[in-house]
Symmetry: C2
Subunit: 628 residues, 2 copies
């Protein structure tokens, strides 16, 4: 963490100085967020942490419930939590998924047996683990993040959206009318530049736009319960996929705290118009079924913490913003939907909360940059395109998964097929396979060969490095804060020591003084030089072989009111075997590579270190000339 830049201040460095312009409850806000679920809180927290934007967030409940149904936290979500600064809190409380085992009747007597076990997250997929933790705790961490931000954001509870309109032309064109469900009663009207519906599968925002979730249910019914239970089933603290001979399938997910577990239990097909709720599913029914599936092992529930029954369905909205309702294609989208409001699917792949948060994380920085005049408003059109594609892919995946999971494996080959599918998709469910297509913020990757492992359109893949100034071993990802900044990560060629004749110095020279430098063009007057575009470098040499005194000034920028030097921009490869970022990420050792990273940690483009005009052009498409 970097702090005390503008003088020593107080105790908890996570508490930002209040920004009086954007804090407090206003009737006119830059962004109104409807819904305090994981998507809404991710969005609100991101806007609050970046700062400079006024935000309100509403929920019809009277507070956050003490139990939420989502629990799976993909590696990619942990990477995002790290950007927000609370990954280690999640780690501390969560269950860590290390292995998955597969059970089925054995070939001999049909006795339930462990058929296979696999590593849950393949090596070097992410520097973060796959975890299980109640979504309420994740929400708590977001609330804390919002509370400590410069706008001291707190949700407005007991506010149900009852009307939503948008009248182009005014500064705050979106009008939301909320019914006050607390003792005061009455209505509250809020005007906003933008409004985002994160209000779940029955989204009022989506309905106001006249949109529907398209798709169908698979007519399979599943029960789910979180329990404290006693069993002699040996893998009860491992993630298990169990396919019994004739009692259906079950998925066991151990939960946080060491005692609780979640079970997803197959309950058969729905008939005719039947709904899951018609079945009158009780915890006792689920326990009986679980016992049957687990036979010959004993299983006894001691406390039912939560249970539900649901039918599998995959549905998605055609578009995630209000542009479809307007003829004018150049018009700015003003209303967005995110999370369950625009896509629903079965919970077993553990994707719901993760994909919803990823929606919001895609949108938040775009809103912030557009509102603050740093980026062109056109940026906002990329949200629906990028996330709709992701949602459709998720739904296809989920349909395959649900189908396979519901099948009775008749042969060992069928079971093996299921296992392979499960394994292959570990990468997918980890959330690191999301790829955004070319747009004004994703390049064509023509020079992808310079950094084969930093794929254009995918998230920047962290690796271990050593910081030059203090010799600290760290992950590159530690620099990728959720602060709304673009990053240029310059990987040096093998000869480069940062000195005058090298490519890194050349790049810094361009960025520091050329009229086309995006750093100069887009950074507002008086702002720190890294406040819009943050340059970082990674050298191939060991840190002890480099001289920090010879480094270009742009890598040691003077910042803040005292012009203190920021010493955290320069990194070196960690030269232990198997830990070198240049090997791990396929960086061209002869030429190095320049990787442009979006504020949401996605790789926007890979370029040669000296292709200054391509670099300048990339940013000219998205950023707005600053008033210097």
């Amino acid at each position: 963490m970097q702090y005390h830049l503008n003088g020593y201040q107080g105790r908890d460095p996570a508490i930002a100085a209040i920004n009086p312009d954007c804090s407090g409850r206003m009737d006119n806000v830059d962004v109104a967020v409807v819904g305090c679920g994981p998507a809404g809180l991710t969005l609100a927290a991101q806007l609050a942490v970046i700062g400079g934007v006024s935000v309100r967030i509403f929920d019809e409940k009277d507070g956050l419930p003490a139990y939420g149904q989502a629990d799976g936290i993909a590696c990619r979500s942990m990477e995002m939590f790290e950007a927000f600064g609370f990954a280690e809190k999640v780690c501390r409380e969560a269950y860590q998924v290390s292995e998955t085992t597969f059970w089925r009747p054995d070939a001999d007597g049909g006795i339930l047996s462990r058929a296979d076990r696999i590593q849950d997250v393949e090596d070097d997929l992410s520097h973060m683990p796959h975890l299980i933790l109640n979504q309420c705790r994740v929400q708590d961490f977001y609330l804390e993040t919002m509370r400590k931000s410069e706008i001291r954001l707190e949700p407005d509870y007991n506010r149900r959206l009852v009307a939503l309109t948008c009248q182009d032309g005014s500064e705050y064109p979106v009008q939301g009318v909320f019914e006050c469900l607390d003792s005061n009663g009455g209505l509250e009207t809020v005007q906003a530049k933008f409004l985002v519906g994160c209000d779940g599968a029955r989204s009022m925002v989506r309905k106001s736009l006249g949109y529907e979730l398209e798709g169908g249910a698979a007519r399979q019914i599943w029960g789910v319960m979180d329990v404290l239970a006693v069993t002699d089933f040996p893998d009860i603290r491992l993630k298990c996929a169990i396919q019994s001979g004739d009692s259906g399938s079950m998925l066991i997910i151990p939960r946080e705290g060491g005692y609780m577990l979640r079970m997803y239990i197959e309950l058969g097909e729905l008939r005719g118009d039947e709904r899951a709720s018609d079945r009158g599913i009780t915890p006792e029914i689920l326990e009986r079924r679980a016992r049957k599936i687990l036979k010959p092992y004993a299983f006894e529930v001691r406390e039912v913490v939560w249970f539900s029954a649901y039918e599998i369905g995959q549905r998605v909205c055609d578009t995630f913003d209000d542009s479809a309702n307007h003829e004018d294609k150049g018009r700015l989208p003003r209303i967005f939907i995110a999370g369950d409001a625009c896509h629903t699917h079965s919970p077993k792949a553990g994707q719901g909360m993760n994909v919803s948060m990823a929606d919001a994380f895609n949108l938040g920085w775009k809103l912030s940059l557009a509102i603050r005049g740093i980026a062109k408003p056109d940026l906002l059109n990329t949200y629906s395109r990028e996330r709709r594609e992701k949602a459709k892919e998720l739904i296809d995946f989920d349909r395959d998964m649900a189908r396979l999971f519901g099948q009775k494996p008749k042969t060992p080959e069928e079971t093996a097929l299921f296992q392979r599918y499960f394994q292959r998709h570990g990468r997918y469910t980890a959330g690191v396979e999301t790829t955004y297509g070319p747009s004004l913020i994703v390049g064509h990757g023509k020079r992808q060969n310079l950094a084969a492992g930093q794929v254009v359109g995918k998230r920047f893949h962290s690796a271990p490095v050593v910081r030059l100034s203090d010799a600290r071993p760290m992950q590159l990802a530690e620099m990728l804060k959720a602060d709304g900044r673009w990053r240029i990560v310059a990987f040096a060629d093998s000869r480069d020591t940062g000195e005058k004749d090298g490519r890194i110095a050349g790049l810094c020279g361009f960025l520091e003084s050329d009229a086309n430098s995006p750093v100069l063009r887009y950074t507002p007057k008086g702002a720190d030089i890294d406040s819009v575009i943050d340059l970082r470098s990674v050298f191939q040499r060991k840190h002890r072989d480099l001289d920090i005194g010879a480094m270009p000034k742009l890598l040691l920028p003077a910042k803040g009111r005292y012009n203190l030097v920021d010493y955290e921009k320069i990194h070196c490869a960690y030269t232990k075997v198997g830990m070198d970022v240049f090997d791990l990420r396929g960086i061209d050792r002869n030429f190095g590579a320049l990787v442009v990273v979006r504020p949401d940690q996605f790789v926007a483009e890979v370029l040669p270190l000296d292709d200054y005009s391509a670099l300048a052009e990339f940013f000219s498409n998205v950023l707005v000339e600053a008033n210097r």
Copy 2:
């Protein structure tokens, strides 16, 4: 973290259920702590976390100040913070000391040059890093820990101890009278079973006992300041020891947040009766001197966050409890002193806060076990003995260090000598070399050969393992919570798989059913079987080669109101090269080893796995037969 054992409960699992018997402000308490510095808070937090004991903690200030002078956090202190559950919070905010560099005039022109650089913490010294963080943040984390404990402990501020007496015979023999410095005024009298003075170098508790700190000052004066500054000195973000040609010595310690740094600056000898305060040291004087030492590098202070001048002195109290004031040698000590109240020394070795917290961590569990009737009161006599010896050793070390630091290096040989000394003592300053001599809680280590790397009298040395139940890679130290429990760590022999004929099963058989079993003899009726002595095992086999179903029941104990199984007792070696705990800690592969660990994480004894009588005898010396 383990939680939800007795049912799902609420949100933050760190918040314990209130214990109505011990919470609330009482006039009669089990333990009164005087002073809210690092020692007092460590003690109060430990008592609060273990639970079952009423505590009050007083301080004459009106709250904790926003700045404290201590900043170094040794690896050993981080291990202790991990036991309290806040190590990762400290990590997140702190500066990590990775390397130390040494500067002196070079042989040619006398220009200041880097003579050497060394790794700060040698490999495998501790699984925790060496960090720098303002003591106020550490105190904040303790306050949070106390606040979330079952007694919801908050300090009583504005209370100055004015009188202290002890009248043996009654249940609450210690009487402390406090002057109320807040608006109410008046006096408050508190009766306690035990009182601990953690009230600093001018300790009122120590004075009440009639004790003095013995020793002398070295008559050297040093200045210290925390600053935000600008310099082109290249190692400004590394810990540096600088010995200039003729301007004295300086130590630079980079601080948390990336910009601040601490400087210890030599200012020469004191004359006659002169005191450090007589010199009228100002930040300007310190800055000028620093600039001279750093020449030819530029150095300019932009903000002085804190400064002070001090003379080096090493002083220690003869005894750390009130027993010296009483003829009766069998009498229980009732009043203790800890931290700066019983030893002072120079700050440069970064030992002050660390040794003070270690004092308290040595005492807290002893008080808790004695008060709750689990251990024999005689245990309390070990505190003064163990910690006085440590303090004396520290003072000798500090004297050597101060002398060496103050010397002008005349030759490269002298500089090299200084560097070697500095390096050799890294181990010492990391806090992991503390060794307690034989007593009723430290054995003679006759079978030390069975576990050469778990030294009797030193802290249990963590290593990576894999947990059997959930395949989670972790550190063994994660199990060593600050919960007042003794631990038996049973390292299995190479053949053992936990099955019936093995040594682990034999040990479990003894502990589960033999009349001499310390687990049976000392665990109160109705308490969980691991609540006094917690058995853990570590197998040599890979976790995939072991069958959890074949493990002895004592390693899978049923606990809490639901008799849920605790799955976190069984570990396996992590078989990656260089990561195997049996190799790392020199465990005898043929015979295995049994390591008894004290509640403060120190190794009490190493025994053969099947020497049941030695194990029984060890515990019979310290624990009290439970009323079963």
